[in-house]
Structures are given as C-alpha cells and as structure tokens.
Symmetry: C2
Subunit: 341 residues, 2 copies
Amino acid sequence: MAVTKIKNMEEFAAVSGLSRPTVSKYFNDPNSVRPSTRARIEAALEEHDYRPNIYAINQNRRLTKNIGIVVPYLADPFFAEIGRNVEQRCLDAGFHPTVYSSHGDPELEAEILESLRSLKPTGVLLAPLGRSSDRAAIEKFCKDVPTVLFDSALPGLGLTFVGSDNPQFARMIVDYLCRSGQPPCFFEMKTPANPNANRRRQGYITAMERLGHEPRIVQAEGEGWQFEEIGRKEGGRALSAGEFTTNTVLCSNDRLAIGFLSACYEMGLRVGRDESAAIRVAGQDDHPFSRYTCPPLTTLAQDYDAISRSAVENLLSIVESGEKSENAILFEGRLIMRDSA
Amino acid sequence: MAVTKIKNMEEFAAVSGLSRPTVSKYFNDPNSVRPSTRARIEAALEEHDYRPNIYAINQNRRLTKNIGIVVPYLADPFFAEIGRNVEQRCLDAGFHPTVYSSHGDPELEAEILESLRSLKPTGVLLAPLGRSSDRAAIEKFCKDVPTVLFDSALPGLGLTFVGSDNPQFARMIVDYLCRSGQPPCFFEMKTPANPNANRRRQGYITAMERLGHEPRIVQAEGEGWQFEEIGRKEGGRALSAGEFTTNTVLCSNDRLAIGFLSACYEMGLRVGRDESAAIRVAGQDDHPFSRYTCPPLTTLAQDYDAISRSAVENLLSIVESGEKSENAILFEGRLIMRDSA
DNA sequence: ATTAAAACTTATCGCGCGTAAAAATTTTGT
DNA sequence: ACAAAATTTTTACGCGCGATAAGTTTTAAT
C-alpha cells in the first residue's frame, strides 16, 4: 500500500519509472513489453494498486474486450449454469463478459441489445427467447456486432448457432423408453417458448414411427416461462381426462417434467420403472434439480460443457477472422437413467 | 431512421437545432430543460436514434448512475429471483444496475468488488457470501462506495443490512409444527455458508425450550453450495443412523430440505402430514421450487418483495444523504402450509 | 565490435462528453 | 410594456487514455 494515491496512468508510469505509452502497452497486452519492464510494472502494481480507468480505455479503443452474454431467463438454473460456464470461458480468454437476462420479455431482449450496443462489445453470445423474439431488432443488431447464438436458433439471419441436436435427443430417449416398457406419449406446451420444442416433437414423431408405434402428443395450454406450474396444472388435467394412452410420458423438457411429477403426486400416482409404479416419466435437458425430484428424473442431458466451449470458440474465431456464416453446430445428448423411467 | 448517422452529441445537437450543452443537460435530467426544447429533442430522438456514449459520460460525471448488485450464487433460483427483483427496482429508479455472482467463491467476491470500483458505482447492493467472505476486502470497499447489505449481515462494518428476522422464522414454524404433531428435530449444515443459519438454529432452540421441548439438532458434513446433495447424502446417513428422535424434521433452508426429501424417498419413507406418512419435513425460505417437490414443501417464506424494496430504498437514501450507520432492517416470514408437514 | 531490430521515450492529437462562466435570448410577473 | 427571472448559447477547458510518429536507447545477432 502506498502513501501516495495514484490517480492516472501518467502518475503510475512515473512511480514505475517508465513512460505512459509503455505502461499503456503493458495493460493492453502484458507480453508486448520486455520481460524486465513487465516485471518492473508488476512490482509497482503490487505497491500502488492502480487500475486503468475502464471508461477512458473503452472510449478510445477501436475494439473493447467486452463480451455480452444474453440469456432468456436467469432464474432458470439451466441458464444460470450455462451462463456461468460461458462467462468463465470468456474470462479465461482474457475478455470482460457481462451476463444479462431477458426475463422472458421480447421487449427487454431488444432493449438489452440496444444498450449493449453502446458498450461496443467485441462480440455477443445470445440465447434468444425464440419464437417471441423481435427478429428485426436482433437482425439489425447482429449486422453491427459479431454474434453467436446458442441454445435456441434463429434461422435465416446468417448466424452461427451452437446447441443440441434435438431430434437426436428424442430418438435416443424414445428408443430407451420403448425398449424398457410401453412407448411414450409426448407432453409439451401448445405454444412453446422456443423452437427447440418443435424439433423435439418432430424427433419424437419420427422415432415412434420408425419403431412402428403410433405417436401420441398431449399439449398443455399456457404461456410464459412458468413451466413447472404449467406442467403441474395441465398435466393434472390431461391425466384426469385420460389423454395419455400409455403408462409412459416423455416431457418436452425437465421443468415441464418437474411440474408433471407434481401432478402425478397430487393424483396419487406412483412414478417409477418398477412393477409397483403406475406411470413412467422422463424429461429432456438434465436440469440441475432433476437429480433431486422424487423419484429422480430420467432424462437426456444436454452437453453444457461442449455447447459453452464451442459457442465461445466460435465467437472468438468470428471476431478474429471477421467471417460469419450461417451454420449450426449441434451436440448429442447423453441418456441419464434414474428412477422415474 | 435517418439517412445521416449521428456520431456524437455535437451532431445530434445540430439536427435538433440546439446547442450541445443543452442536449447534455437533457440527457442528465430531461426535466431540467424547458418543455418545448424537451419536445424538440425527443422529436429528433425519434428520427435519429442517437445514444450518448456511455464511456464518455461516465468518465466525466462526478457520480455515475451505476449500481452494482452482487449475490453469492446466481445459479440458486432464490438469488436469481431476488437479484432480478432488486435489478428492476433500480431500473425503475432511473439507475443502471448490473448483477454479479460470486459463485460461492470469496476470492471472486473480492475481485468483483475490486473491478466494481473501477465502474465508479453510485452504490452497491451486496449479499455477501457470509462466513467465508473476505471481511477486510469488503470493509475497504465499503469505505469508498455506499453499500447496503442484504440477505446476509456482516456486523461491525457500520453498514445497513436488510434481511429476514431469522429467529422469528424458527419460532413461527416450530410453533406450528409442535401444535400439529411431534416437535421437530433441526437439520442443518455443520459449517453453514452464511450466518443466517446460526440465527435460525438459535431461534429453533429458543422456540423449543419455550414450549418445554428438548431441542434436537442434526448436523450435515460438507462444504460449499451444493445444498441439495448435502441434504440428500447426509440426510440419508442421519436417517439410517436414527439420529432424528421425532417424526418431524425442520431443515435450515429449503434447498437442504429438497435434498432431504430425496433421501426420504430413497429410503422409502412417506413424507406428509396425514396418518399414513412416516415423517414430516419443513423448510425455510420458500424457494421457487418448493411448490413442486413431492410432496410440496411446507416452509416459511421470506418476504422477497419487502427485502428488495427496502434494500434499494435504503441505498438510495444513503447515496443522497451521505449518512451511513449500522442498522438492521428485518422482515418477518410467512408460514406456507403445504403437504410435507 | 558493428549493425539491425526491438523496445522505449517524447510529443502531440483526439475520443465524446461533463462542466463552468459569461453573454444572449426567451419567458414570466406585474 | 418593462424589469426580473429563467433558460439557452457560446466559449473554453479538462477527463484519462489510445494511437501515432519521430527520435533515442537497449538488445540480439553476425
């Protein structure tokens, strides 16, 4: 700790016995200066805890080191987790990530992009709301700022997308369910929040037909991101109405499944894969809480790690090369067998 | 949309037929200019979508309009929810909030505060990690930046704290559990992540003694923020070892309870408050997922809304007046009766 | 030791805006 | 209509740092 407070880079350069441009170079890239001077700066840094003013920095740099990360709903542990993962990778790559949540609101999503613009980010990792997104606003933004989409694709905007191979998800878990018991009915939202749901439904239908079974789809009314509540309410209704024609239910995602399990409990239906159980329930995503449902949820795990790694790598590559193109990078899911199915 | 792109405030002032300082005044406070000129500016704003450069603004302003919000663990829906709530209130008050997560890591918490310093925030709302927090780092930061603590207190730093009246929580739910069945055992972590746990334990003991019951505390080994896993693993161990002396378990928080419910399920124990159930389980917090456990979790709800409102109000008041003092503002909990107890 | 390359210094400009003081203009009250 | 008050314009400076160019020193290579 120094007695004199360092106000700016000029003063800091003075106490470290160097010129300001050299110190400036160091902060932009520590390896761009001679090792001996780097050591001198870092020694001075220990003594005087100085940090360049981030506003002054970003005002002048052609390219900031900022990266914006936008997810549709941070209160969902799935997005909290993947957001954290992506954030960490950006930090490791020497960037300054900031995480934003659209809170399920298309207007807020557009507003975040607008205010992101003034941050002059090097790049943006965007998990769009999906169906309800303001495509025009997103398109306009992406023309100016290198952007990689993840989790949910927006075809036709010429953007790189990184996510899960949803049809493969459905194939895999339908195969498993048919192999181990009755073929599954599919439980989903009537107006799903994002397009992945459509691919999962289609994957389910294809997989069922390939195995010679009649697809059976049950749809839940309801809008928004309160998936558990929708799953509980509509699941209960569909159960009462006898809409499920087999004893096995594949939910479009884990949060819906969690709500559906709640509905089963309320109706006194024992869930599981053993003889005494009345119904089998499976989900998709491997939500952080799926391990702790009663019974623990059988599901198809998204490859969080691969998706976040690939999303960041692709963004940095686009930033460096300046070449963007519409291509989708998809990762397979992994079957997590627990007790619910 | 204009044909000419506005680059800076100078140009924008030109197209709106005003001088730059007047426009500058407008952006600092739209009411500081005459209504007629305000209208002119806002008309021009419609045409030319210009935004002041955020870096240039903050470089010169004595006080930014930034507010930092730091929570210990954003992947926990509880903190995601309260973070969102606080964020919205700051926005409504005309500030620019940014949410950060310490990810359960004291070093990261200190690092966030350090980097927050360079954002020159008007104020900071901090939910500290608690026990493991680097008190020295926090104290140093709070001397320079107006800060209000929430969720978890750090006594002795002269800061305003807004949170729950934890002893009251325990009293209330112990009363209910004793009234409706056997007195509860208390299940908690041996080395809890934050000091609220200690107050809840103490509240439990006091409440039990007041009713003439022998307190019974069962502690779970384990560190970190994987509460569900700790609750499941250690809960199962304690159940097997017969450490619970009554048929009722009050968990220190809902996440622990969710894990404990999972342990009960694994052991084939039916949880609930009716005759056929083997055990009753209750939590504290009213975690967003507690509604959807099987059975739904009886718990004591934190007053999210009151806490976040009060936290923001107090911060803004401190910012304006410049007077800070060590005082605690506590809110009572509300009993949420569901089926688990 | 000689020389070229690499690293550093000095000097200067500009980024976009806040801020302040003085002068010019408009609005308000009577 | 006229003075006082409120607002706006003009002018000017500074914030902290990036960027660049020209000159000087250090390092590495032959």
